[in-house]
Symmetry: C2
Subunit: 322 residues, 2 copies
DNA sequence: CTGAAAGCGCTAACAC
DNA sequence: GTGTTAGCGCTTTCAG
């Protein structure tokens, strides 16, 4: 009987009596509508696919958490898959999202130019791309890394640092490019040459970072300041600095890209480039919901930019005179 | 035509000629089977619901990652929801998993006695419970915290420590109970009274941990060793110890429950209770796949126990003589 | 406002 | 080994 459906979906044209009758029956039978049948008939799965590089990365984990909370209040459920910066795996995931007819997808591919991934994006499935340069016609939320990075580097330059090392991940994606760009721009704006040899693009394992930082500190002309990316990288850098017998900020200044909890309780607190995951999640959800509900008809891709903020803290001081 | 379906599902009784014909047609039309229709008809969603307390917790993130990788090779996709130790939210999530007819679920409820959650578990949906005492008829993977904890405490007792502090989360769930139990058991086995006042069950925020550790260190009869739970807690404890001007291991010994990467690069390396997420994921997947495929007919709940290991490292030394 | 009827796109059962 | 047929459980349309 059609009325039951009307009650379940909260349609308006149902009499109070019928509504109650149906509700009683539902309660009595412990009836639960079959999602598969609803999806088949209504052509809406109420499911959003989320492909991130790796939940193990705390920034992504927080972001996912916030997105999940937000979209669930709207009745959506999230499928989460880790792309692991592996193009083949990412293509598989995209195919899967398509086959399962996700109402929308949120993606952060590790490879911005893979034709398979670009092709998969070229459908009418609502999508939001997160912080990747992909030249497709999807909406996107971008993080603006440059001003915060410039601000951080300028802070160090103002303090008198010239040998500033930048440790970012080796993966060739927008955020890393932008960080390097901001780094260079700060030197340029200061009329100084950028120490290219101190830009280190490395794997993010704790051991590799530890070795890298230790090596730099023990080199003939060591950096007096470090800017390092990521929670694990920060922890490993702290370990290496203390292993080298250097102190923060007297011997070495340090700034973190990303702001894990322990950066704030560290003594001294570690200056950080931060971005609010709630804000990012909200932007993503808003763009995606607009498209999924077809609230927003204009097909032109929209771009929402969220700024990183530089928060200076006690971890930076003038370099020790030589 | 039924043959198409047979080809897609890789049935055996299809001739080579037909198979090729169908495959050509599929490629030509770019045909993708509708998951909703398949699910409706075949009564299998090929989807597993996963309710953990919080992906933001690195241990859970790694575990999810490993489970996702494993189950995807078997053709399953994961729905991830964060319960956040909130009973109402957890009930909602369970209801959702049921309504969407998950082929199986993997759950770690924050509340082991909530009647709603227990009721939701009382269905014929294959399920694996992870490290919770729930007295239901589901399969479960349990972590054995006790021997490793006893081992760690005994290690400290052997070194001469008597004032050992234990910092675990306040949430009333099996892992925390077990840790405390192991802690007490070690003292008992040693014929010593357990310092109950040093068992601190607290919130896991970095700030709270920092204050707690600092407070303990500055108390009249301070602990000479700490056992702390969790990545963020470890980082905050390290900060507090160094803020108090104490050194590891000369002034204070430290053991971590959980083994984040930076524990190993720390100087000295931090002794840790560790468990391999891959092993855990594998156990979970195996139990669940057995049930989902009905390979394993015996309805009696099965229990798979994975041991934590204590890995002593340089962070423990005899207490400073007073 | 309500009931009847037609399908959504598949797979399973059956006849050939 | 292959084609035909009947639904899976809903939502939507269309009469009434």
């Amino acid at each position: 009987m059609g009325s039951a459906s009307r009650v379940i979906n909260g349609a308006v044209n149902v009499s109070q009596a019928t509504r109650e009758k149906v509700e009683r029956a539902i309660a009595l039978l412990g009836y639960r509508p079959s999602h598969a049948a609803q999806a088949l008939r209504s052509r809406s799965t109420k499911t959003v696919g989320c492909m991130i590089s790796d939940v193990t990365n705390p920034l992504y984990a927080r972001l996912f958490q916030a997105i999940e909370a937000r979209l669930r209040t709207e009745g959506y459920v999230l499928l989460l898959a880790n792309g692991l910066n592996n193009a083949e795996r990412e293509r598989e995931i995209m195919a899967l999202f398509q086959q399962r007819r996700m109402d929308g997808i949120i993606v952060t591919p590790g490879n911005e130019r893979d034709p398979g991934i670009l092709a998969a994006l070229n459908t009418d499935m609502p999508a939001v791309i997160v912080d990747r340069d992909m030249r497709t016609r999807q909406d996107a939320v971008m993080f603006d890394h440059v001003p915060a990075m410039k601000c951080a580097v300028t802070h160090l330059l103002d303090l008198g640092h010239r040998r500033i090392a930048l440790l970012v991940s080796r993966v060739e994606v927008r955020p890393n490019r932008r960080r390097v760009e901001g780094f260079r721009a700060a030197f340029r704006a200061y009329g100084l040459p950028c120490p290219e040899e101190l830009i280190r693009r490395q794997t993010t394992s704790a051991r590799a970072t530890f070795d890298e930082v230790l090596g730099l500190l023990q080199s003939p002309d060591p950096p007096t300041a470090f800017i390092v990316q990521g929670t694990n990288t920060l922890a490993a850098a702290l370990n290496a600095i203390s292993a080298a017998g250097r102190r923060i900020p007297d011997d070495v200044s340090l700034i973190s890209i990303g702001d894990p909890d322990f950066a704030q309780t560290h003594v001294p607190p570690i200056g950080a480039l931060r971005i609010d995951p709630e804000v990012v999640a909200d932007r993503i959800a808003t763009l995606l919901l607009d498209r999924m509900r077809r609230t927003f008809a204009d097909p032109a891709p929209r771009r929402s930019v969220v700024r990183f903020q530089f928060e200076p803290r006690g971890s930076c001081a003038p370099p020790r005179p030589r």
